[in-house]
């Protein structure tokens, strides 16, 4: 259970990621397009920004347990660094406690490599 502020931010991002995993599954079921919409995985619970992303892009980010997708400018330097920056979204990588939470809460834990 997250107790401090940084851990709480890390948990928020991990839970947004959990939601995005479901959004991806639903998009896959509809099979309408390679591109679908996710929510910004930034630390701010109140963030309501949507991000359009291709399935291949999404899967590439999910290959790393500490990687998250945030709207441009939404990275929080206290718990993550931007590793890829683009017009639609940035890819960030967690460090410290947020990185540990990201690994623990990874919904793909146990997936076959």
């Amino acid at each position: 259970m997250p107790v401090d502020r940084e851990a709480r931010k890390g948990a928020n991002e991990a839970w947004f990621r959990g939601l995005n995993e479901r959004l991806e599954q639903r998009a896959a079921q509809k099979e309408q397009s390679d591109r679908f919409e996710i929510v910004c995985e930034c630390a701010l619970e109140e963030c309501t920004v949507r991000i359009e992303i291709d399935v291949a892009e999404y899967e590439a980010v999910r290959a790393g347990a500490k990687q998250f997708i945030v709207a441009p400018g939404h990275a929080d330097g206290t718990l993550e660094r931007v590793v890829v920056s683009g017009p639609r979204f940035d890819i960030v990588e967690k460090f410290g406690d947020a990185g540990k939470i990201a690994e623990i809460e990874n919904p793909r834990n146990g997936d076959d490599e």
Partner: protein, 204 residues
């Protein structure tokens, strides 16, 4: 409110049982507690008569009165709240606070996070598409394994098709709700829209 209340004799006749049976159910099993009139007489609402009708039907299948009552009224929420919010920019924040007040410390932070997210989506939709002159009504019911959330707003009819097309123009859809809910429904008409959502403690 304002609906006709029936006295015990009328209820008994309608159900085909004796008034003493109704009094016994009330005294022993707390099945339906009617209001009292000016002279102490029992006064039953139409909802209470409906419950009694279901209880009676279930007892005729062999259930004891207490069990029939439990089955008739369904699970009761552990906690509930009903709030009205002005259709303003801070409505989502107030909705999240209402969720926290109902859920308290009784659920995981993750589950509370998802319920707040659903409440935010519904309230933002209500602010975007509903009337800005009428309040947004939120009803929250926390059960042991799920939360029922209902958000209602006045305004024009809002269909799923219009939600989708408005989302393309920068509005919001209900994908998040769809992803987190076990079930949801939309009831819309010329006077407003009600969206009811059930969020299970462990979605999917």
């Amino acid at each position: 409110m304002g609906a006709a209340l029936l006295e015990i004799g009328a209820v008994a006749r309608e159900l085909g049982i004796s008034p003493s049976t109704l009094r016994t159910w009330e005294r022993r099993y707390r099945i339906v507690l009617p209001e009292r009139g000016a002279h102490g007489e029992r006064l039953y609402s139409s909802d209470q008569v409906q419950i009694l009708r279901r209880v009676l039907a279930l007892t005729r299948t062999g259930l004891r009165a207490r069990a029939a009552h439990s089955a008739a009224v369904g699970p009761q929420p552990l906690r509930s709240a009903r709030v009205e919010l002005a259709a303003s920019a801070d409505a989502s924040q107030l909705a999240r606070r209402a969720v926290d007040e109902v859920l308290g410390q009784s659920v995981s932070e993750k589950f509370a996070f998802y319920v707040r997210l659903v409440a935010t989506e519904l309230v933002q939709n209500a602010v975007l598409y509903g009337s800005d002159r009428e309040p947004i009504e939120i009803e929250l019911k926390a059960f042991s394994d799920w939360v029922d959330l209902r958000v209602g707003n006045a305004g024009k009819r809002l269909t799923l098709k219009s939600l989708r097309s408005r989302r393309r123009q920068g509005g919001r859809g209900l994908e998040i709700v769809d992803a987190l809910a076990e079930a949801w429904s939309i009831d819309t008409g010329p006077f407003g829209t009600q969206i009811a959502v059930r969020v299970p403690k462990e979605p999917d």
